[in-house]
Subunit: 239 residues, 2 copies
DNA sequence: GTAATTTTTTCATTCAGTGAAAAACTATTT
DNA sequence: AAATAGTTTTTCACTGAATGAAAAAATTAC
């Protein structure tokens, strides 16, 4: 029932939930009451339900937040401060990259992919980094599927994607221009913990104001700092 | 069962969950399997369960994230950029203030209250702002309860708290020094939407390097910008 | 002011969740 | 290396809690 809510429909009425789930209204009514009780659902003035604050609180206890976004934040802020560009943090989940954080200082920048958004592995800088250092079985799976084309620049052939990935590994970071969003230029680098890639950080520029590759030193620096902090915590923390 | 996880215990084994909840292991085992299936729980290499990525994703759909933190972020970043101090965003929930966002650029700053943490309304700058402009019934409730003392500076008497609150309303922002954390100096201001307070923004300084009141103009500016954006969205959006 | 839609309450039915018990693992100790 | 304590997994007979049809109440639309 909570699954009926999405980024496009974050607010729903009782009967909308009923229709979306196929559950009878009476059932939805009862369940919604219980969920509201527990803070999993909340309703505003106009009888709309939204996901409740409890779910937000639980989300904060999730490894992706507590162990990644929380630790990464100071490094991302610093990177943003140094480069003045949009910076982003992404992780691999299944066959997608997922944005964990994204910082854009300028007020009023047109809406870009939100935090939590899933983006293709083959068509973005962070995606290519996550893929380049992923287990080979995942690479096989991804290149084995049809590669969706988003712009004229999107890599859509198996051969050129594999070539690009080894290129990324050689260089140590990925460079992508207009492969997903026309006009967007980005670089991204991996964050390793004990030799395994945990996340990717990127710097994006939406109108090619500056040569984005000038940011690579700062980006790699942020990634190393972040990785070092993660290893430090893993050693101290537990397990 | 998900409630067994907390900021102090974000990772639990099967039997720890069983003990924490009082549920028999067999039941926990089955439920954990189902929850893992749905992405609500995940387990790492060493048989520990954590809350799953699905909960994080749902948390992002919550009004507190999508409608507050998301919108506030550019203003907070700018405020942080201008002041170079720690900036924070908090909302009222029940009888507590809850941190929604907090930005500290410098790497390695000692651990302070995390996002999602609940902090007292009477002993912090953001809390006092949220309380000062809250419904009078809440003010009555709060001053009616014993006011926990955290430092020598904490306001603990009903009279002086009420005086402080009207002081806040006169001035338009709150000022608090060492009332909750010794050495912490903070100011905070309200964010109004259609005359109702929706959130509070604050600037904190942990060693009184600078006179924090010098930041008040920037803070009020950020709050107004944020408030204007919220009203804009409320008008456009829906409802 | 009436019709259409949405929300709330009630209640007999039934079926899905429960947890005891035992087996299969996994560490830890001597 | 064998014994022990702790943890995880599987099975299954039982039962109580969840279900949803139907009707009433409230709200919204025309």
């Amino acid at each position: 029932m909570l699954g009926a809510f999405s980024a496009l429909t974050p607010r729903l009425t009782l009967s909308q939930i009923s229709r979306a789930t196929g559950l009878p209204v009476a059932t939805v009514f009862r369940l919604a009451g219980e969920l509201e009780e527990g803070g999993f659902l909340q309703r505003d003035a106009s009888h709309f339900y939204s996901l409740g604050i409890k779910l937000w609180e639980m989300g904060l206890l999730t490894p992706v937040h507590g162990r990644l976004r929380e630790i990464a934040m100071p490094f991302l802020l610093n990177l943003q401060y140094v480069t003045h560009e949009t910076v982003q943090l992404a992780v691999l989940d299944g066959m997608d990259a997922v944005y964990v954080e994204k910082l854009t200082s300028e007020v009023g920048v047109p809406i870009q992919s939100r935090i939590g958004a899933r983006i293709p592995l083959h068509a973005t800088a962070v995606g290519q980094v996550l893929l380049a250092y992923a287990e080979t079985s995942l690479i096989d799976d991804v290149v084995g599927m049809p590669l969706t084309s988003y712009t004229d620049e999107t890599i859509t052939s198996k051969r050129s994607l594999l070539r690009e990935l080894s290129h990324v590994r050689d260089r140590g970071y990925a460079y992508s221009a207009s492969e997903y969003v026309p006009g967007a230029v980005a670089i991204a680098a991996p964050v390793f913990v004990n030799g395994r890639i945990e996340a990717a950080c990127g710097v994006v520029n939406y109108d090619a104001r500056t040569d984005i590759e000038e940011c690579s030193a700062a980006l790699l620096n942020a990634c190393h700092g972040f990785a070092a902090r993660l290893e430090e915590l893993k050693a101290t923390g537990q397990s």
